[in-house]
Symmetry: C2
């Protein structure tokens, strides 16, 4: 082991302070989690690094909250303790992995010596296996940073934060109690972590752009279809410019709600196969070229795999590849490709998008029905929402209902359409509302059923304690 002694360090800094200053650098201001024996002394470093400790009611809720915080703030951090804490949060972290949400999960571990000796400590399986829990997290982490050897700690931290951001997925950082106070080189902090995407090979990128443009110019009825990964992999500026430059009818998949300005004249509504907004299905399924950006074609996102679109009419843009009809171009990020397509596009044939509004359907106009119906509710919600609201819908009734709500501009929609863990929305609401408060004055609005609420309801106390004021609609379906 080639450890550097403290004497050789120009600006010695404790590991915990280094880690937390890096969190602050990438934009994190509040850290979610639950205290525990093996993370307590790390928590003491948070205030001096400009970080607010939320202190959640339990780890699952903390994980959901970190997820909601990341979806508004861009990235989040979660601190739990060994075994009992990290395992309580693992469902929330798995959800973030599934849905491409960047959470830096920091797990306080026992002293490295205790681990080496296999001591019979509390929060262990009693069998001396100190790797069991980290191994469980490996399948739901973009990378694992086990901070043991001093010489590599800063590299592992920086790499984990970068991977979290670039791949937009959770990473796992194991922080043993004795590592918290170890000294490492603080001068390194003067160089910010490089969060930029690796650039595409220019020749390859040009080639793909030419192929895309060839099909785009030949198309008679092209449309744009935007989905979750456009949000999660941060190409919303490119999507916006593409819509403006092309004037093409633009639709979103359910998981893509909020990716597009829904008051724009090109916006045509939600496409979800047989679950589409009125008029949408016809236009998308008769299109001869779908520019599909960041698709996740899961069951709930496609109304039970009811897409009737052909791969021969589709160009798929993804964070790691582009596929034109059946030709796949691996190792290329859609961001650069979209940017160049916009620059080189020129004039296209366009058709108007279906008109989308929040007016009530005919049968609800002047209806004498006293009960609140879904047909009445969701368009009405769209009339009531304000610009830049954050709208959180629980899995089930609410996240299906919101398809029929046209958003004002700037709305962020949060839902777990793929992972679908009930109770998620309440924790996520806490995290989202906190990020919204840090950003200024955005409203956070939650739609949740009484059944889902019971899984995670204690997190309302965290909202109160942190002076958050989300609007919560708790619904009981008759």
């Amino acid at each position: 082991m080639a450890d550097i002694t403290t004497r050789e360090l120009r600006q010695p800094i404790d590991v915990a302070e280094y880690l937390f200053r890096r969190l602050h650098e990438v934009g994190i201001r509040s850290v979610h989690g639950v205290p525990g024996d093996y993370n307590l002394s790390a928590l003491d470093y948070l205030p001096k690094c400009g970080l607010n400790w939320v202190g959640n009611c339990n780890e699952l809720n903390a994980g959901y909250a970190a997820d909601g915080y990341a979806r508004v703030n861009g990235i989040a951090a979660l601190i739990t303790t060994f075994g009992v804490g990290e395992l309580s949060a693992i469902n929330a972290v798995a959800g973030a992995y599934s849905e491409f949400v960047p959470i830096i999960h920091i797990v306080g571990q026992p002293h490295t010596r205790s681990q080496k000796d296999g001591m019979l400590l509390h929060h262990t399986l009693g069998n001396g296996d100190y790797n069991a829990f980290a191994n469980m997290s490996a399948a739901i982490s973009a990378t694992m940073a086990r901070l043991n050897e001093t010489y590599e700690i800063a590299t592992l931290i920086d790499n984990a934060i970068r991977e979290c951001w670039i791949r937009s997925r959770p990473v796992y950082i194991a922080l043993p109690t004795d590592v918290i106070t170890r000294k490492i080189e603080g001068e390194r902090l003067k160089t910010p972590i490089d969060l930029s995407l690796p650039p595409n090979d220019p020749e390859k990128e040009d080639y793909v752009v030419d192929v895309v443009l060839k099909y785009l110019h030949a198309a008679e009825r092209p449309v744009i279809l935007v989905d979750a990964c456009a949000i999660r992999h941060r190409v919303l500026d490119e999507v916006h410019d593409l819509v403006e430059a092309s004037g093409l009818p633009t639709f979103v998949a359910p998981m893509g709600k909020g990716a597009v300005n829904e008051t724009h004249k090109c916006y045509g509504g939600v496409y979800a196969g047989t679950g589409s907004n009125p008029g949408v299905r016809e236009q998308v399924e008769s299109s001869d070229l779908i520019l599909s950006i960041g698709a996740i074609k899961s069951d709930f996102n496609t109304a039970g795999f009811s897409y009737r679109t052909g791969q021969l009419n589709t160009i798929d843009f993804h964070s790691t590849y582009v596929r034109v009809r059946y030709s796949e171009y691996p190792d290329i990020n859609m961001k650069g490709v979209l940017r160049k397509v916009i620059q080189k596009m020129g004039a296209l044939k366009t058709n108007p998008a279906p008109h989308i509004s929040n007016t009530l359907p005919d049968q609800e106009q002047g209806s004498a029905e006293q009960r609140i119906t879904h047909a009445w509710l969701w368009p009405t919600v769209g009339q009531w929402l304000q610009e830049n609201d954050i709208v959180i819908t629980e899995t089930g009734t609410a996240n299906f209902g919101i398809w029929d709500t046209r958003f004002p501009s700037g709305v962020t929609a949060i839902s777990q359409v793929l992972w679908g863990s009930i109770g998620y929305s309440v924790g996520a609401c806490q995290g989202a509302a906190l990020a919204a408060k840090e950003q200024g004055n955005r409203r956070t609005v939650l739609w949740v059923g009484d059944g889902s609420l019971q899984l995670t309801l204690q997190e309302i106390s965290t909202m109160i304690r942190n002076n958050l004021n989300p609007i919560m609609y708790v619904c009981h379906t008759l």
Copy 2:
């Protein structure tokens, strides 16, 4: 694949019914868990199999409740759904693994065809990996039963239930939606699952018994020290008979509380190194032979590894081996050994145990202090408890405090001294109270702090809905 067609079955029975009839056979009457898409149709089979569905507020609580139920009832079952459900419960199941509590964890999975095709279903990681979650559970399960191939389903179910019982640890049963209704041979149910321990090799057992007796007869000041695994591996009858037959001073480790009749003249109190009851430490640490039964020498169970006992003065009895001084005898179960030691023991040299009572310590007698002190509280609790009460103490203040409470006879103590997951006791209270109700008229008493309560408090609603009436002391420490 050598599947048997339904036509060849003498008593065709659906897989779910077979499984649930087996649960009933081994003594389970209530099943804990949370409904989900992939287990819903299985739940419909519960009533006709004589099983009550509890329906918990969330899966972590359900897991804790199953743990508490198992500690009173002997074994428990837990049903969750794929991904979101099983991962929410995984911390509770890990705790049961750590503390040797038998829980049959049944996980509803997607259709086997969807799994083979790697379909992009909700509750998946979106990467087609249908093994990720089961793999996480493998490290905390005595065995994994993946019910896929019809011909082996009954064998896998029977084996999993047997392993759960014999090894007193959780097992994992994966039940895909299409397997629920598959037909298997029902005649097999006429033969109960063999839950008996594999017998020890008689020659080896006799040898070990002779060695034990040699040291026991030579000892001047032998004592008995009983710990958790005596409870979990079901040798309490043997412990009781050993105490009666030998008349030796008998102590318990904290995790062994409730294993011994604490009103018995031989009972001397809790031994936990420097955290021992008064007078206990001297007698245990000066003993020249400790019969240590089912020890788990974890940090919290030994007051920070503060045992001052020597291996030269110790005989360790375990479920899979016996160790006499430094000689280890593997592959032998303590149950048979203890039974024979009792039979062959004859007269021993004995010394009286320290007198143990629930009288208040001197400084509390006539104290003018108005606040409730620990020194006053825990002996007073002992005066108030009744025979056969179930006493649950949360990790922290309560499960350390209870060391100073002398129990009436028949008390079952429940605590998570090794795993130590806060919030556990509230879920465990629901499960224990339900098992107590099924057994007749035992009281269930919970001691929990307000901080721990907030992790799992919604489970109080499950207690109310199931007409359970535990006594809950929610404490706030000043």
